[in-house]
């Protein structure tokens, strides 16, 4: 094994603050002992115990100390960095200390609070953690956030309801939009649906109005039968190529990319709940039938008097091989209740049976379910282990089920139409995935950074995901997420420049002998082969690198490391944590 790079050992001027957190730490850790021990480190030139290191007064004292003692590194031992890393980095910057020379040591969540009955053990651990923090700081170097210019143009992929609404929102902000749609018409899934809850306007009307508005905007360009085929560059300035229906490719430079490619309805296999038999259709097929012929309800020329809906087809399945369909598709219970009440208002004599597992008409959609029940729909519950059977004999369709709420009582229904309430499935988008390399979840939908806190951002800076491309949503939720991405995109591009995290990977060209392992390990295309003197070495593009370290573990020479997590820093931290005295 090659020896790790050794940073030249120069004396540092490091300050240490040990926080008591008003007793949250000092009740379980001897903070004064920790301070006194770490003060013995030759690189530690100042040390204090504070009751609340994050208080204004304590921050002012720290700022003063950084300036007066000319500190070139700071360690605060307090709570989790998730809480106050940003606070203390900002404080360091105010004092003139580079924020990346600051290290936070977690002696609360990962020490005092976890060892509340072991003061000696907790104090010993706190000291080792602080030593590791000082060891880490000895290896820091000043880093500058990477500032790059941004182009005020956005590529939106997918002209369904989410993409259309987003294009208008971006246009309102003064950003130019290139709206790219794969099919030959805008409007997506919603355009094919009949009436929508609660306005009872049709999907075609709603999307039609959006399309008309989009066509009227100077700063929105709609490209039909077009696809994204190439992407390079970085946040703020992506170079992309669009292939149009005529086969031409159009080069564009855009600051951000939003993926609004939507879902595709789950397509049942032949024989799945009788799919393929005459009279068995999916929910989207029924909605299209009704959109075309709203007043009459016939199937193959025959009047429909009885409908059976089978819920949860393609949703909430047990875990299996490949793409997981364990999720609830969210919209189908509400959509089916809505179809059912709409049908009832036109054909009050119609018999409707809903075979469900659980009803999830959440929020205001509950009124749809109530409405369907009041209108005489019969809801029968089936168990996952006992799904209904759909068959056809000489008398027509036959649905058999064991009614769970009647202790498994067998029920037989002879409907004219069976509607499979199919959920949402992810689109395959193979070409797009090849180009964008976005993370995809086990359910096959695009994956956000954080489902609650960063719901429309991806790990690729400047690439956002919205609507049902990200997972099942109804129209309102899709539009809400597209407008969220609109404001994130606006915040990114309207300022004219963007700053990136400098804690990215860096190659030590003296150690690198170019084997290509790091390049193969990097999904972001951040690693190039360059000449260093007369040998070939790897080089990391700081604007493309995500700093996750996939290349670090792949490198057989320890020649690449992530700034802030270098081999010498981690090794020094391990040595400090292993020390066993005091």
């Amino acid at each position: 094994m090659t020896e790790p790079e050794q940073a030249p050992k120069v004396p540092r001027r490091i300050g240490v603050v040990v926080c008591q957190c008003g007793g949250n730490i000092s009740d379980y850790v001897d903070t004064e002992k920790v301070r006194a021990e770490i003060a013995k480190d030759p690189d530690v030139v100042s040390s204090r115990v504070e009751m609340f290191a994050c208080s204004d007064a304590a921050q002012q004292a720290s700022v003063q100390e950084i300036r007066e003692k000319k500190l070139d590194g700071l360690v605060v031992c307090s709570c989790s960095p998730k809480l106050h890393l940003a606070t203390f980095r900002a404080m360091s910057a105010r004092a003139g200390l580079n924020p990346y020379e600051y290290t936070q040591v977690n002696i609360r969540e990962q020490c005092s609070w976890a060892h509340t009955h072991d003061r000696e053990g907790a104090t010993g651990k706190a000291l080792r953690l602080v030593r590791a923090g000082v060891a880490h700081t000895e290896g820091t170097e000043p880093l500058q956030r990477i500032r790059v210019e941004t182009i005020p143009q956005v590529l939106v992929i997918g002209a369904g309801v989410a993409g259309l609404r987003l294009a208008l929102a971006l246009s309102d902000m003064g950003l130019s939009v290139h709206l790219v749609e794969k099919s030959d018409h805008a409007g997506g899934n919603v355009a094919r649906w009949g009436t929508l809850f609660p306005s009872d306007r049709s999907g075609e009307e709603v999307t039609g109005q959006l399309i008309e508005e989009v066509r009227g905007r100077q700063n929105i360009q709609l490209y039909l039968r077009s696809e994204l085929v190439e992407k390079s560059g970085r946040v703020g300035a992506f170079s992309v190529r669009i292939r149009t229906g005529t086969g031409d490719t159009i080069p564009l430079t855009v600051g951000a990319i939003v993926v609004a490619t939507g879902f595709e309805p789950y397509q049942p296999a032949q024989g799945e709940f009788g799919y393929g038999l005459e009279g068995v259709v999916t929910l989207p097929e029924l909605k299209e039938m009704l959109a075309k012929e709203p007043r009459s309800l016939t199937y193959h020329g025959k009047e429909v008097r009885t409908i059976v809906y089978v819920y949860c087809v393609g949703s909430r399945l047990p875990e299996g091989e490949g793409v997981q369909r364990t999720y609830c598709s969210r919209y189908c219970c509400s959509a089916t209740s809505h179809v059912s009440t709409t049908l009832n208002s036109v054909h009050p004599e119609l018999h409707q049976f809903h075979l469900f597992r659980d009803i999830r008409t959440y929020g205001r959609y509950e009124s749809l379910y109530e409405g369907a029940r009041r209108a005489g729909s019969v809801f029968l519950r089936y168990g996952e282990e006992d799904p209904p059977e759909v068959s056809r004999d000489d008398q027509g369709l036959l649905v058999r089920l064991k009614d769970r709420l009647m202790a498994g009582e067998p029920v037989e229904i002879r409907p004219d139409l069976v509607v499979l309430v199919t959920g949402m499935a992810p689109r395959p988008n193979e070409e797009l995935n090849r180009v964008l390399k976005l993370p995809i979840g086990t359910d096959g939908f695009y994956r956000e950074i954080h489902v609650k806190l960063r719901p429309v951002e991806t790990v690729v800076d400047g690439v956002f995901i919205v609507g049902t491309a990200q997972g099942p949503k109804n129209v309102a939720e899709s539009v809400a997420s597209s407008l969220a991405a609109g404001s994130k995109t606006g915040a990114l591009l309207l300022r004219g420049h963007v700053e990136l995290d400098p804690q990215v990977a860096r190659v030590d060209p003296t150690l690198c002998t170019w084997c290509g392992e790091c390049q193969a390990a990097c999904p972001y295309g951040a690693i190039d082969r360059v000449l260093y003197g007369d040998k070939e070495v790897a080089q990391v593009s700081p604007v493309l690198c995500k700093g996750e370290g996939g290349c670090v573990s792949a490198c057989p020479k320890q020649a690449v490391s992530v700034l802030g997590y270098t081999h010498s820093q981690i090794t020094a931290m391990i040595d400090a944590l292993a020390r066993e005295e005091a």
Binding site: C111, P439, H450, E548, G549, L577
Partner: protein, 138 residues
């Protein structure tokens, strides 16, 4: 190899900032107790742990190294689970060559709210390490 002063096996945990470190924080916030001989170094992603760090920790005095796996929760890499598995396997290979017991390296999925899972893992791993005979220094 040396156990802590009080005889508890010393475990170094590699956690990840966005995922498992939050779960480990939650264990503390919930006052779930585990041995103070368990210490954590947080890195950006579990697949970025260098096998050399694991070997170094075991040669420096730790009895065991636990790699918290981000797995399918990882926002960076869809194959994070496979990659982290490769890191652990490579570290174990190097340990075998050094005459050290590969069972001193363990990995397991720790999600951002997996407080109890973490504490249970530490308990199990600690007991398993206590039963390992101290091998010849490599």
């Amino acid at each position: 190899m040396s156990a802590s002063k009080r005889g508890e096996p010393r475990i170094l945990v590699f956690s990840s900032n966005p995922i498992s470190d939050m779960g480990i924080d939650l264990a503390g916030s919930s006052h779930l107790e585990y041995s103070p001989s368990v210490q954590v170094i947080a890195v950006p992603c579990s697949s970025g742990v260098d096998p050399g760090w694991i070997v170094h920790a075991l040669q420096t005095g730790f009895d065991g190294v636990f790699v918290s796996v981000d797995g399918n929760d990882c926002a960076y890499l869809s194959d994070c689970l496979t990659r982290t598995g490769r890191v652990v396997a490579e570290a174990q290979n190097r340990l075998r060559k050094l005459g050290l017991n590969p069972a001193r390296v363990k990995s397991g999925g720790i999600c951002s709210v997996c407080a109890e899972v973490f504490v249970n893992q530490m308990g199990q791993f600690g007991r398993a390490l206590a039963q390992l005979t101290v091998p010849v220094e490599g």
